[in-house]
Amino acid sequence: MPRAPIIENARSFAWITDKVCGIVEGRAPRWWWIGFILSGMLASFTLMGLIYLTAVGVGVWGLSHPVFWGWAIINFVFWIGIGHAGTLISAILCLLKQKWRTSINRAAEAMTIFAVACAGIFPLFHVGRVWFGWWLFPLPNSNVIWPNYRSPLEWDVFAVSTYGTVSLLFWYMGMIPDLATLRDRVTMVYEKRAAEAKTAFAKSFEFAFYQFRRVFYGVLAMGWRGSNRHWSNYEMAYLLLAGLSTPLVLSVHTVVSFDFAVSHLPGWHATIFPPYFVAGAIFSGFGMVLTLMLPLRALFGLHDLITQYHIDCMCKICLATGSMVGYAYAIEFFIAWYGANPFEAFAFVNRAFGQYAWAYWIMITCNVISPQFFWFKWARSKLWLVWILSIFINVGMWFERFVITVTSLANDFLPANWNYYSPTAVDIFTFMGTFGLFGVLFLLFLRFLPLLAFAEIKSVSPQADVHGHAHGNTDKAH
């Protein structure tokens, strides 16, 4: 009963290096330019939405009595959740010694950073006067106004900024050996590209680009020489950052869940919220990793590095976390009845059968039912199906935050307050634009930084197994 190989076709170190570096060193494919331009155009929606909001005020969003939290907090939680898979893969799976993580950690970590950037926009701009955003930090200002430390929104400031900082450090530190490899290949790549350049302009461009790459990778590689001491320090720093990041994965979405759960509002005040939110975040994050990695795998021909085994693992994590989320939905519903609080019971019945029932059932279908396909090998091996299901997960997790936020507020304690919340065009365009921003950042990452952590991949490749066997076991990876 051999284990599935992590790297297929016994690829050598040289092949792995060429494959991953080739993505950065080759010319940008046409689809990249199309994607980049479209993403940039889409991102402009966010820019315009935010300019309009800053000029006019938060009234341009669809917030109205009693729904004073609308798409902004939904989008914030959605993007923060997306980021969790990156940290889970790089930190928790590292501590659990899961070697398959090496093929997907880099892109997932990049996804984390960009998702946190997209998430940060919404709380920052929801303050209305964005130039006072720095008041969120505990700095004395001229009016001696201090943040309310009892508000979980204030805790978010610390939780998210710490999480973003540590994730960025982790991502960058893990990249140093790969950046050094890219640095060492700069001249070779230049010579090759310069030889292909036909016009004087092209030659000048190649030279300028060479200078840029020389400095860019040279500075970022921080003098890495791959010495024994470098590797030893690197491994220790990696382990320490993994240890630091692990509680951060849990704490960030726990604090995000506190935004809701510390209140009295029916549907929000549930003790299960912290682990339920964390499970949901990992679920949505893995959904997004699948959404991104499956096309990239096909476009760059990375089938030997991101194998069916990796896809199986990710699908199974989606299945597990999606089912945990399903457990939380069920237990919330049961306790809403068992608690015998009529407001709580109403909130849940209203979610399922009230004016927002459509959103609730989209959530259930996407988050609980769709990952159940991943039980079956045939479903996991049909990559078009996996990709569609991953989109379902992304959609479902956005709707989960919509259901939690809006249904509880729209139909609160006093029926006289009740209202139907609808987003405005500004809401919709600002949110859609964040996908453009995310796309721009991710496409730039593809062009300039190593997509896969190839130094780490080599360590789990067949060539790294110096014994050529695994203690009598016929398989190479375990």
């Binding site: 009963m1 726990t254 506190f258 759960a261 005040h269 003790t271 682990p275 939380a328 306790i335 076991n473």
Partner: protein
């Protein structure tokens, strides 16, 4: 797979010619169980249900270990884990204890069916006083709203369902693993994985049900969506700590794991113990914090009686609460952070420590309840006073579970010699 019994079976791994050391545990356990059942009826007039709770604490301690082990076995199957294979076998021995627990639980179910006054679940008898307030249960709006769930026939059905699921899963996982020893047929691996996939769902459902039925409904006014996860987290910790002790015991036995178990096995168990120490604290804190923060009286009373008497003075439970924070979380957390403490005597020490405070945690969850109404808003709560049943039930159930474990361990091989991952487990290194 080339692994075979010829290669890896030590001479002691054969099944024949064992001395059965389990008999004293059986006799002692039965005697103590009879004593414990007798003691159930010795509660005071002011608090007739106190011995019942002591019995429940004893049962719960051993149940939680078994529940944690069942989850771990299934999780390891699902992860296709290699390092843990020889540890899994010790848990498979222990899982037979579910039958003992089911039998030891029966007196409580029969008493509930008979509507006895000694039963701590107030809701089984509608003529009783509402917990901590005036009036009968039958007049309680909260009870009436929950009566569809809180009734003896449904409770009994749930008891059967819970144990049927636990025993069924444990039975199949044990049998298939033992059969693989004999036949070497790896179809049992696939069967076990498939069963574990479904079994984790089933176990999550029935374990939540058990936590709610047996502990949460001790005061049926209270509720928390987190409660099932609290029991799961506490169970995982207890199971890991108990397994560490079993491994040390087995490591010293020629017919056990001597020469087979590696220091890395203990190290990994120490790591898991650290992880679940944090997880337990995370779950316990989150539940406390959200209830404290929202400050809704319909749920805060559960923590209030674990902190203060009705006159506002700190009661004995406050000290227990502090012990749980500092001694059940902080000490093991700091201790297990150190690499050297995940081996040898330090690991034994912290495993015993965790198990001791696990009993305190169970005590703290089960015992403090509103006793009677005093004045318009006041009530008295049960104090932190040990009862003989606490000890006898703990020893009785423990002796019987250990008896079942020893019997099982003496009948089967100490390691699953034909498991396809056995070589990974035997050649484990960091």
């Amino acid at each position: 797979m080339t692994t075979s019994s010829e290669v890896f079976a030590p001479s002691a791994a054969g099944a024949a010619g064992r001395r059965d050391p389990s008999l004293p545990f059986l006799i002692g356990g039965l005697v103590l169980l009879a004593v414990s059942i007798g003691l159930l009826f010795t509660g005071s007039a002011a608090d007739p249900v106190r011995p019942f709770l002591g019995y429940l604490v004893g049962l719960t301690f051993w149940t939680s270990i078994l529940v944690g082990m069942l989850f771990l076995v299934m999780i390891w199957w699902m992860f296709d884990s290699g390092w843990s294979v020889i540890i899994r076998r010790q848990m498979e021995f222990f899982l037979v204890g579910f039958v003992v627990i089911a039998v030891a639980f029966l007196p409580l179910v029969f008493l509930a069916i008979s509507g006895s006054d000694v039963v701590a679940w107030t809701w089984i008898d509608e003529t009783r006083e509402k917990p901590g307030t005036f009036g009968m249960v039958a007049e309680d709006t909260l009870f009436l709203a929950k009566a569809a769930y809180l009734n003896v026939p449904f409770f009994t059905a749930r008891y059967i369902l819970i144990f049927a699921a636990w025993i069924g899963l444990a039975f199949l996982l044990r049998q298939w693993s033992f059969r693989m020893d004999e036949t070497g047929d790896h179809k049992y691996v696939l069967w076990s994985r498939r069963l574990s996939a479904v079994g984790l769902f089933v176990a999550a459902l029935v374990t939540t049900m058990a936590a709610m039925d047996w502990f949460m409904t001790l005061n049926y006014h209270w509720f928390s969506t987190m409660y099932g996860i609290w029991f799961f987290s506490a169970s995982m910790r207890a199971a890991l700590a108990a397994t560490v002790l079993i491994l040390f015991w087995q490591a010293g036995r020629k017919e056990g794991l001597r020469g087979l178990i590696q220091p890395t096995h203990f190290y990994f168990m120490g790591c898991l113990l650290l992880a679940f120490t944090v997880f337990w604290a995370y779950i316990s804190f989150s539940q406390y914090f959200l209830i404290y923060s929202a400050n809704i009286p319909e749920v805060t009373f559960w923590y209030n009686i674990r902190e203060k008497s009705v006159d506002g003075s700190l009661n004995a439970w406050w000290w227990v609460s502090m012990a749980l924070i500092f001694l059940h979380f902080l000490v093991p957390f700091l201790f297990l952070l150190f690499h050297k403490n995940k081996f040898g005597k330090p690991l034994i020490f912290i495993a015993v420590w965790i198990l001791f405070f696990h009993i305190i945690d169970i005590y703290w969850n089960i015992l403090p309840q509103k006793l009677s109404a005093e004045g318009l808003l006041g009530y008295t709560e049960r104090g932190f006073v040990p009862h003989l049943t606490d000890l006898t039930a703990f020893l009785a159930v423990g002796a019987l579970v250990i008896w079942a474990f020893l019997r099982s361990a003496s009948k089967h091989r100490p390691i699953p010699i034909r498991d396809p991952r056995i070589s990974e487990s035997l050649n484990l290194h960091e």
